[in-house]
Symmetry: none
Subunit: 192 residues, 4 copies
DNA sequence: GATGAATGAGGGTTCATTCAT
DNA sequence: TATGAATGAACCCTCATTCAT
């Protein structure tokens, strides 16, 4: 019924299977079970669906963060932040990989900011709360720290989940180092 | 004379101008001033030149790091690491943007590890030295910390240089937060 | 209210703007302010509207001829024939241009005869009258002369109004020569 | 060998068979025995080949006029002008029909003047010669008369050869009237 | 090594037409 | 009558790649 959602679903699958460059609109519509022309009623070009995928990924990530962290004290939320994102990027690694190749191909790079905005806003508020609680170092600048954190965590997650053949042990160690790093960087605990 | 280099130069310019997906071999050879067929004497396919671009970017980054940091104590090198990479990514932001879109498109994602390997190796060694010097916290795991650091710094640099319309003030503040973060994360100084 | 007329109006405008080949039914209905499907209630195919345009042009031309010439002696009507058609083709040059491209595209070329029939009939009768009056040469064959005259006048009008960047002076001179030609050809006056 | 000429040949045939709107580039190249892409090495768009067809038609018409008329006195050349053009348009009626539909479809209508220029120039000169010989009326304006004549003759030829199901008798009568008309119009003979 | 004309498969996109409402 | 979302066949054109010179 919801053709827009069906297109996004199909696009994720097809892009993941054949790669962004090789995937054709024909592949997508075939899998979505709609006609060729119908695609263009919802997205103006082959790659425009990337925006739709990105929104969905971020929305889902934010939902997961809320589900896992809401109710905890701000400091505790920050302690678990990396692990939750790590897990979620792992779960959605296909979609995330797409985004990195898809978004940069079009002129839509500026849409990143827009799409990430809710995540940044949420984390910034969390950092402000934690600072008010005295749970992190006073010198932390929430606005920038939010972006630095997201960048560091996602970069780590991608290294593990997308680019390298990382063993489970390596992945755990990588996450551990990242958490140690964040903990110390935020002043949750002194660096050991 | 060096046609291989001319092709890489031209490819960087063309990819940056038209985007990776829309750039054609014809565009590249025209700008390089060579014949269509000549391209295939140096690279086996349209996207194969991305590997060449990546090598050049990383080589140049590593060279810059050596030039700016060699001779300093390990701890001091780490303190300045972010600033140097930040600057370099800013200077090469066109090329860097390409890599993010280009590498993921082919099946070459695994080449990332290979291309980044020298950078990771250098930084890992630097961290080991710094730990031996007592310049950073003993808990730092050089192998993983190297990757975490590179990821965090590059992610921040990309946010500033590629994706957002960031003002100079914002950029400075972003870098400052990143440096504070790294300093505390490595235990160079306690988080303030 | 009269949707058929609205479609013809819109089609004339759209065909003139984008050319017959590039004009779409979507363009036409958008400009006519009706729904896509409504078009097909009035015309069975995209180009069928050309017939409607043609009828309108010819009807209007014939009306203009009657308005300007009725009541004059047959000879005098013939003297003014070229000027009236010239003016009318100038006024409707968009529509006329369409006909030349539109009619030939479909299998409708034979419809020309049918659409032009009333004009030919009217002129043939006028020529017969003029011959009976002794106002033109006795050798004129009304049936064929009607077609030759219409052809000559329209060709001249098209040259001036459609194909060339003709100055007003040139246009006047062209018309003058045409009138001289017709006058002499019909034996209204000996060629000077 | 000459691919450009082969394309024009094939285009004439295909356009004539299927109509301009329905003819595809694929049809043309198949008949020309070349690859799809090769077409675009010679003509920038599907309809651009029309220009090539037009040049050829006019060139051939001019050649025929020279072949049939050169050497005759100017007045005699004018007397036979209509018959020669009539015949030639009959012989090339496919190509001529194309031009009327093809040229108007693109933005190339202004090219008509350019393509017809040699014919106009030749006829204008002929009229000047005839006037100098005293073979036609002194009032004839060669520049404009050339265009009027060409227009009248071609219009008549098209009526006969393209648009109507004209019998041979009708066609002869039509030509006769046209010749009578031209003769009187130029003052070769008084109108009878 | 270098050229560039030729290839031809392939895909994004358009758009005339339909039909359930 | 009117609508406009949906259809899907069809086509123009591009462009990576080849190969004779």
């Amino acid at each position: 019924m919801d053709k827009r959602a069906a297109i996004i679903d199909a696009a994720i699958a097809v892009f993941a299977e054949k790669g962004v460059e090789k995937a054709t609109v024909s592949d997508i519509v075939k899998r979505a079970g709609i006609a060729q022309g119908t695609y263009y009623l919802y997205f103006p070009s082959r790659l425009a669906v990337m925006g739709g995928i990105a929104e969905r990924v971020l929305t889902q990530l934010l939902a997961r963060l809320h589900a896992q962290l809401d109710g905890l004290p701000a400091g505790a939320q920050l302690d678990r932040l990396a692990a939750v994102i790590f897990t979620e990027v792992g779960a959605q690694h296909q979609e995330v990989a797409l985004l990195y190749s898809g978004m940069t191909q079009t002129d839509q790079m500026r849409r990143w900011e827009q799409i990430y905005a809710p995540l940044y806003a949420w984390l910034q508020q969390l950092l402000e709360q934690a600072r008010a609680d005295g749970a992190i170092a006073a010198g932390v600048q929430p606005r920038h720290a939010a972006r630095v954190l997201v960048g560091a965590i996602e970069a780590a997650a991608e290294q593990v989940h997308l680019y390298a053949d990382t063993s489970a042990d390596e992945a755990r160690a990588h996450l551990a180092e990242l958490e140690r790093f964040i903990g110390a960087g935020l002043g949750r605990a002194p660096a050991v």
